[in-house]
Symmetry: C2
Subunit: 114 residues, 2 copies
């Protein structure tokens, strides 16, 4: 189905999801760290993550009470690999991405998650 082929583009059509991909290329993060970065509700972040996971961009790994999200190191779909390795070409050096990158290093899940 052609409709299915559009899913990869739909996943990339949201600025917050692009920020998540770029953030995870910098560092493995849990949901609440991403929530802190994007300033969205927890449930909204979770929803974005499930879309990115469904498409194969990212993977999750449970670790205690946290769920760590990271870039999928071996996507089965070559289109996903292609996007992940050329993401900067597609989104350029956006100012939001740059400031996100700085902020990521100051995130401390012990402090953030109540």
């Amino acid at each position: 189905m052609l409709e299915d082929k559009t899913k990869i583009f739909k996943a990339l059509s949201d600025p917050n999801r692009l920020r998540i991909i770029k953030a995870l290329q910098t560092k493995v993060l849990c949901v609440c760290e991403i929530r802190e970065l994007l300033q969205l509700a927890n449930s909204t972040v979770s929803q974005h993550l499930s879309i990115l996971k469904e498409e194969g961009f990212i993977i999750e790994e449970k670790s205690g009470k946290w769920v760590n999200y990271s870039i999928n190191p071996r996507p089965s779909d070559p289109r996903i690999s292609a996007i992940l390795s050329t993401i900067d070409f597609w989104i350029g050096d956006d100012s939001v991405i740059v400031s996100d990158k700085k902020k990521i290093f100051s995130l401390d899940r012990m402090m953030i998650c109540c």
Copy 2:
């Protein structure tokens, strides 16, 4: 703005727009030929075309009472060039695309357009 960077993906997020791009890679077409191919209302096709034109995927050339649409031969945005030259990688050989390709050659704007 990061939001602007997503526009290219939004444009590619609709199956009908992907069909239009592939169709125009086969042949220059006018609005009513595309309407016939996609079986959509004229106004809907026009809307899709304006989105693709806005993003730089296609160009229009008025020719008498017709408006011919074709693939932009020299996109200013390298991302558009990249997509256009690798479109098959992204959407594969979908059955709809294949049948579209056959149908395109039988389209006759003189017959179609009342």
